[in-house]
């Protein structure tokens, strides 16, 4: 049999300070980027919000020969529109709806005055026209595609559109996720211990904040698909934490002499091959989505990629150290209370539970 990572003895927890400083550094970078961008006058917003969140301009164009979605998208990218939403009209095959986000430094569509909005729509139209000019001349004014055979397309309508995902939807998503985390917190506390529950949930927060940091620093577009990706990341991160906690619980039941510190290290090492294989497979699949999945899914796949890597990392770097640190504190407090000279640190609370399984033959 092929075996990866047999008998590894890496001191993961010994490196916790490096890990935690790294995480803090990245989150600080995210914070600086978000706050800096938000408050720089004339600059971009903290996040590069897409049409879904911010609204924008919708241009309806009628073509003599409608180019493919990809060609249209490439042309728009060339004209400086990073994230257009292109919807072809299936009952009028020569028409396409092109939605582009608000131009930078504009306030939300909902708060704009009519003049501002007019200017936005006009600017949006100009940009789209610049892009579409690569497919032929525009039939401007009263000219139609029929009357002038040299023209290639005509912009038949422009309008501003509001956000699909207003602040209400966003808040609802955040609220639902937080409630979901509360559920996770209680269940892990019930199955393991409060310290593990806190570790796992803080690791989830860490992962989400880190992903958001990446999005603000690199100004990747935030659209509705990113919400889906973040939900996935939360699930994966919790899953990963529990696999390792489960091993810790099992080892604690067998080995009551070792310290929690070494047992956790051993548990991470014992499950390392599983972690690497699972995470590796999932991450490689998502990588194929990033590389081959096309422009529109880029935000989604990038968020997933970053989040999945972080999900594994945070189990080792965040969830486990927090659980151990807190148990250590509890152990010390208990020791003082009981005035027992040897602090019963190693007897972590998880081990106090009766373990119903057969002891491992070892």
């Amino acid at each position: 049999m092929f075996n990866l990572f047999q008998n590894v003895h890496i001191d993961w927890l010994g490196k916790r300070k490096i890990f935690i400083s790294m995480s803090i550094f990245i989150m600080l970078a995210g914070l600086v980027s978000a706050v800096g961008r938000q408050f720089t006058p004339g600059g971009t917003d903290a996040f590069n919000l897409g049409v879904d969140f911010k609204g924008g301009t919708v241009v309806t164009a009628k073509f003599r020969q409608r180019p493919s979605d990809d060609d249209l998208r490439a042309a728009l990218n060339g004209a400086g529109v990073a994230d257009p939403v292109i919807q072809v009209s299936t009952n009028k095959p020569d028409e396409a709806l092109i939605k582009i986000p608000l131009l930078e430094a504009a306030s939300d569509a909902a708060n704009q005055s009519e003049q501002e909005q007019q200017a936005q729509v006009q600017a949006g139209r100009t940009l789209v026209k610049k892009a579409l000019d690569t497919f032929g001349k525009e039939a401007e004014g009263d000219v139609t595609l029929d009357t002038d055979p040299s023209t290639g397309y005509k912009i038949v309508g422009t309008d501003s559109v509001g956000a699909i995902a207003g602040s209400e939807l966003r808040n609802k998503a955040v609220l639902a996720t937080l409630l979901g985390l509360v559920g996770i917190l209680f269940f892990i506390a019930f199955r393991y211990d409060w310290t593990y529950a806190a570790g796992a949930v803080l690791a989830v927060f860490h992962d989400v904040l880190m992903v958001l940091s990446f999005f603000t620093v690199f100004q990747w577009e935030v659209n509705l698909t990113v919400i889906a990706a973040i939900l996935t990341i939360v699930g994966f991160s919790v899953n990963d934490s529990i696999v390792i906690f489960d091993r810790v619980r099992e080892n604690l039941a067998v080995d009551r002499k070792g310290s929690l510190f070494t047992i956790t290290n051993d548990s991470i090492n014992q499950t390392l091959s599983r972690t690497v294989i699972t995470a590796g497979l999932v991450i490689l699949s998502v990588l194929s989505l990033v590389l081959l999945g096309g422009e529109v899914l880029r935000s989604f796949s990038l968020a997933l990629l970053v989040g999945l890597v972080l999900g594994c990392y945070s189990t080792v770097a965040i969830a486990s150290p927090i659980a151990i640190w807190w148990q250590g504190k509890i152990g010390e407090a208990k020791a003082k209370e009981a005035l027992v000279p040897q602090a019963d640190k190693k007897m972590a609370s998880a081990a106090r539970r009766s373990v119903t399984r057969r002891p491992v033959t070892r």
Partner: protein, 557 residues
């Protein structure tokens, strides 16, 4: 070796697989024909069975406009009427009113016969009518309130927002899944853009959205009950309709004799004079539902219940109006005019010989509240997927590539046992999709994200089990023992990870909006099915191996 239990497990797995295959690839609602066994037939069935959302498949695109000008006009007229009534009730010298309601000008003018009383009239009217944001002017025999442009815009904005909310409630209740609704145009354009994935009956949805469903309970004016023509009704009022009266069409009904249809039995339209303002209107409605009327099919009625405040008002009025007629008015047409026999508080019926479908739609729209104004459709088209057909194709290709890689790796790394994992994975995906088909869920990108996480956790379950079996083998256990212990140990981990994720997904489902629900549903289904595929199915395959080769020394893992 006793294999009876093993055969039963295997038969159960095969049966479930067959059901899954039929749900996903088979025809629904008809018997399979020979075409269903061809590649093209299977493809068609697949496309029909899986409902894809707007982002993946496209749907209809409707731009509508709330007739905000009409809204302001009605508001002005209602205010004028209320102002006249308020002043006359206080015995102040107001003879009538005139209104302006066009081209962006909305104003109410009261005709006063004694200008010295102007201030008293203003005070009295303002107690009853909300003119706070209107510009007031007094001049001789007239008091005028006009609505400033800025205030008009505020009202238009509010009306559009309200309409958007009501439309959202209606289409959600109707069962249109995963629609997107957004405002289009400027804040004062009153435009709303609705995109919804393939709806079977778009005309019905359009009617449903567009019906104002304005319910009013009004008093039928004393005197003649109904008139043959509108003119006759007006002339009985002395040639013109006073502000506190309205003439409305009324179709008299009769119970259907058995065998006749509602249409055959309809009587010609009549006219009726009712008193304004209405006793109460639809905003006081608490609940509305379809009930069977006398005469059976084709004669459904709508029963409604009033909120406490409305019930109070209605009870007071019916208490002192015994023997009078009540007009149940829906969208400016009298639907029925029963005589009040006793005090009624919170309940009533609308009798109108509705079909089941009409009655259901009507009770739905009544419950969602009435639209502030009528809606007109400005643009209607069908659109392709918002994620773009090209990018969906490349996304699907990339995902299939990723999946192929996972399968190859499992076969390479776990060799013989990799087959178990591959069977479990493929069966997991098949059954998850079958479950989605079964519950008629609409698949959107968040749903696919749930599917991806589910598959990821399925891979993880297999890896956990296999790694554990390997560990036990390394510790010197026999093949049979290793498999047994490996499954038992890994199962504890798997059940913990799965239950945790299912709990949080159930909460997401309860608290989230439709797209988040899509994620939660596919994830919950995927995980439940994974407990079956990764544990039970994979275990059964191992049991077969052990049963066929009882003295196996080396497991291919």
């Amino acid at each position: 070796m006793k294999r009876k239990g093993l055969w039963i497990s295997t038969a159960a797995i095969l049966a479930i697989t067959l059901v899954g295959v039929y749900l996903v690839f088979g025809p629904h609602g008809r018997f399979p024909s020979s075409r269903d066994f061809t590649w093209a037939g299977v493809k068609d069935n697949l496309a029909e069975n899986i409902n894809l959302g707007l982002d993946l498949k496209g749907g209809s695109h409707l731009v509508m406009r709330v007739k905000t000008d009409e809204y302001l006009k009605t508001l002005t007229e209602n205010n004028a009427q209320a102002a006249v009534t308020a002043a006359q009730d206080a015995k102040l010298p107001v003879t009538g009113s005139s209104t302006v309601g066009e081209n962006g000008n909305y104003a109410v003018a009261l005709n006063v016969s004694d200008p010295s009383q102007n201030q008293a009239i203003v005070d009295e009217v303002k107690k009853k009518v909300d003119f706070n944001t209107w510009t007031e002017s007094q001049g001789g025999n007239a008091i005028t309130w006009s609505l400033p442009k800025a205030q008009q815009n505020v009202l238009i904005d509010q009306a559009t927002k309200q309409a958007l909310q009501i439309i959202e409630t209606r289409i959600n209740k109707f069962g249109v899944k995963e629609p997107t609704l957004q405002r289009q145009g400027s804040a004062t354009s009153g435009q709303i853009l609705l995109q919804m994935p393939g709806v079977d009956d778009p005309e019905r949805v359009k009617t449903l959205i567009g019906s104002t469903s304005h319910l009013m309970l009004m008093k039928v004016a004393d005197g003649q009950f109904s008139f043959d023509t509108k003119e006759a009704a007006i002339s009985s009022l002395g040639g013109s309709v006073p502000p506190n009266r309205q003439v409305m069409p009324y179709r008299e009904r009769e119970d259907n004799p058995p065998g006749s249809t509602a249409q055959q039995n309809q009587k010609p339209s009549k006219w009726m004079i009712v008193e304004t303002p209405a006793i109460i209107d639809g905003s006081e409605l608490n609940e509305a539902r379809t009930i069977n009327g006398p005469g059976g099919a084709g004669n459904y009625q709508i029963e409604f219940f009033l909120k406490p405040a409305g019930a109070q008002k209605f009870g007071e009025w019916t208490g002192r109006s015994i023997g009078k007629y009540l007009a149940v008015v829906l969208d400016d047409e009298v639907k029925s005019a029963p005589v009040i026999k006793g005090q009624i508080f919170n309940q009533g019926t609308i009798e109108g010989k509705f079909t089941r479908e009409q009655a259901d739609d009507l009770s739905l729209t009544l419950k969602s509240g009435s639209l502030p104004a009528k809606i007109e459709y400005q643009e209607e088209r069908t659109v392709g997927p918002s994620l773009g057909a090209d990018s969906i194709r490349s996304g699907v290709e990339a995902s299939l590539g990723g999946l192929a890689f996972v399968i190859l790796f499992m076969l390479f790394y776990y060799r013989g046992s990799g087959v178990n994992a591959v069977v479990a994975l493929v069966l997991n995906m098949l059954l998850t999709i079958a479950a989605l088909v079964l519950i008629k869920s609409t698949l959107t990108l968040p749903g696919i994200a749930g599917l991806i996480l589910g598959i990821g956790m399925a891979v993880d379950s297999n890896v956990l089990i296999f790694e554990r079996i390997r560990e036990e083998i390394r510790l010197g256990l026999s093949v049979e023992e290793s498999i047994k212990v490996g499954f038992e140990r890994a199962f504890v981990t798997i059940i913990d990870t799965h239950i945790t994720t299912i709990i949080s997904s159930v909460i997401l489902y309860m608290a989230g909006s439709s797209s988040i629900r899509g994620f939660a549903v596919t994830l919950i289904l995927g995980l439940l099915i994974n407990l079956f595929t990764a544990v039970f199915v994979s275990r059964t395959i191992f049991r077969w191996e052990l049963s066929l080769r009882p003295n196996m020394k080396h497991l291919s893992i």
